[in-house]
């Protein structure tokens, strides 16, 4: 790793820590003049003065949610960057090409069908089942979109985006139908899926997300060189000793895994995978050796800020986070379209 990259990583991580601390202070609960940070330290040191409700608010509500925002933001940004590298196009993010929709569709099916045996299955397996279903949905849609839009290593961008539109429409229709069919409790779950929220954060889910993240990053983060070389064309990348086919398979499976886990736990939070690489590209061009590692932290920053805003500006209620990311993402989408108008 170059020194420059290490400096950027350290600086952005520091910023993330500051933002996470700020986020810990945000909320309506009254700690009776105590600082939330003090409560957190007390929890760690086992101070008996901390009341159960204070502990719950800080540990199980705020901290779990902050961590989830960090994990999901990072995962979404990295999956966006990796997908863009594979498709060689800055618009190829999991949500725009329908992968998220595929994951949502399978997750929604699992919720509705799963209600029959929900009472008999422990919670951890329920969560895993949901993630696995979302993973399968994501994997199938990725393969489908790739098959439809790519011939001989060249991706037709228009076809890629349109197949995303088609798949999203299908997902939307199925989820709509399920909402129509479903009972009250499922209805709440399904609405939550469609709009995206980090409100359901638990330490269990964070644990699963962390594992998914570690597995995926251990393979993907070093692929900067390979993604750079693939800009030359896949044949030329192979002449540079890059095993293109193997790397593409790894990206497809791992992105599906990451998107699946995110969709299972937070619903469809769009555009993170579009915004983060776009901003990084403005500064570092398309050098994946830099933007791929940096999107890990930048994604966290973006989603943490968005989530903190979403739960503060209309407190004690909250705005669905997908609404906020869409507000940021749509202009970016348009900006990319204008920039690439001539080359598409």
């Amino acid at each position: 790793m170059s020194n420059k990259l290490i400096i950027y990583l350290v600086l952005s991580s520091l910023l993330l820590i500051v933002l996470a601390t700020v986020a810990l202070f945000m909320g309506v609960y009254d700690f009776g003049g105590k600082s939330p940070l003090k409560v957190l330290v007390d929890i760690f040191s086992g101070n008996p003065e901390v009341s159960a409700s204070e502990k719950f608010v800080i540990w199980d509500v705020r901290l779990a949610r902050i961590l989830m925002a960090i994990l999901i933001g990072s995962i979404l940004a990295v999956s966006g960057t990796a997908m863009q590298g594979m498709f060689k196009n800055p618009l190829a993010t999991p949500d725009l090409i329908g992968i998220t929709a595929g994951a949502t569709l399978m997750a929604a099916l699992t919720i509705v069908l799963g209600s029959f045996f929900r009472d008999y299955v422990p919670e951890i397996i329920q969560h895993s089942l949901l993630s696995i279903a979302a993973f399968i949905g994501a994997l199938l849609t990725t393969l489908l979109v790739y098959k439809i839009s790519t011939t001989q290593g060249k991706t037709n961008v228009v076809i890629m985006l349109l197949s995303g539109v088609a798949l999203s429409a299908l997902g939307f229709a199925v989820v709509g139908f399920l909402i129509y069919l479903s009972k009250d409790e499922q209805l709440r779950d399904l609405t939550f899926w469609n709009l995206g929220s980090l409100g359901g954060a638990t330490w269990e889910k964070n644990g699963i997300l962390l594992i998914v993240m570690l597995i995926s990053y251990s393979v993907l983060i070093h692929k900067g060189k390979a993604l750079n070389a693939m800009m030359l064309g896949e044949k030329d990348a192979e002449h540079l000793g890059i095993p293109v086919e193997r790397i593409k398979k790894q990206i497809v499976v791992l992105v599906a895994l990451m998107v699946g886990a995110c969709v299972a736990f937070s619903g469809t939070i769009g555009f993170v995978g579009l915004i983060v690489p776009y901003i990084l590209r403005l500064i570092f061009k398309s050098n994946y050796q830099i933007i791929l590692p940096l999107s890990t932290v930048m994604g966290s920053i973006l989603l943490l800020v968005a989530d903190t805003v979403s739960r503060t500006i209309v407190a004690p209620s909250e705005i669905p986070i997908g609404v906020l990311t869409a507000f940021m993402g749509a202009p970016v989408f348009i900006a990319i379209l204008i920039r690439f108008k001539n080359s598409m």
């Binding site: 790793m1 170059s2 070093h222 900067g224 060189k225 750079n228 070389a229 800009m231 030359l232 064309g233 044949k235 030329d236 192979e238 002449h239 540079l240 000793g241 890059i242 095993p243 590209r281 061009k285 398309s286 050098n287 050796q289 080359s343």
Partner: protein
């Protein structure tokens, strides 16, 4: 160095190559020439292992089939310059040239890699552009950047390297055409091999050790320039009249097309 035996290639129903035999020696500069659609680029792609070959034993590189090679070793032994004009690569020139060094480092290039790209950029005259964005370059400048990348890729201690070049002179001005050919010639002078698809027969006659003339996916003539470039063969292959005389300076064949 590299041998091809009975190479065939068909795309859908069209046969593009018909049982081509080819053998290239260490230190040889082979020019592949021929009219449009003769299968020159396809032959080069087959030799460079870019196309799916139904008979993988038909091409032997250093006595080994390509699937017996380790991909990374292979990239230190051979490189290919392809036709790149349409690519959109939002990177700086030095980053593009550095790709040639990817087989040599893990995440950070070391001093040897930096030197290699610096020299390669100097040789193809793009050093002054190294901090420019690739997409802002003209076609000829882009060609020179990729040439520098290929040269940087083969800068190593391996003996007997092979360079494939598919129309490297496209868009280059006269000075850089000669410069590029001299670089290739220097490369082959060190017992390395270059297989180059060329359009300009006179340049092929002047620089190549051997010429492979192709027509309709078959070898029309193969041998040294004096043997291949004769009036009958050339005018028949190109279906266009020509006259050939010795170049007054180099004494190589000089081809003049037209009546």
């Amino acid at each position: 160095m590299i041998k091809g035996h009975q190479i065939n290639y068909a795309h859908k129903k069209y046969h593009i190559l018909h049982s081509v035999d080819i053998s290239v020696q260490y230190g040889e500069f082979l020019a592949i020439v021929g009219p449009n659609g003769a299968g020159k680029s396809t032959l080069l792609s087959m030799l460079a292992n870019e196309l799916e070959n139904k008979h993988p034993h038909s091409v032997l590189f250093k006595e080994k089939r390509f699937n017996q090679w380790n991909l990374k070793d292979l990239s230190k032994n051979k490189a290919k310059f392809s036709q790149h004009n349409t690519h959109d690569i939002p990177l700086m020139i030095k980053d593009v040239v550095m790709m040639g060094r990817y087989p040599y480092f893990n995440s950070t290039p070391n001093a040897v890699d930096e030197d290699a790209i610096e020299n390669a950029m100097k040789e193809t005259d793009v050093l002054h552009l190294k901090n420019r964005e690739y997409n802002s370059l003209s076609g000829g400048e882009k060609q020179r950047v990729h040439l520098a990348r290929v040269i940087a890729q083969l800068k190593n201690d391996v003996k007997h390297k092979l360079m494939f070049l598919d129309e490297p002179l496209n868009n280059l001005d006269v000075k850089h055409q000669y410069k590029a050919l001299r670089l290739i010639k220097e490369f082959t002078a060190n017992a390395n091999t270059a297989i180059v698809v060329l359009h300009d027969l006179n340049l092929a006659a002047q620089f190549a050790d051997n010429v492979l003339l192709m027509k309709n996916g078959k070898v029309a003539a193969h041998g040294n320039p004096h043997k291949v470039f004769n009036e009958k063969t050339i005018s028949e292959t190109y279906n266009f009249p020509c006259a050939i005389c010795p170049n007054p300076i180099t004494k190589n064949p000089m081809i003049i097309f037209g009546n």
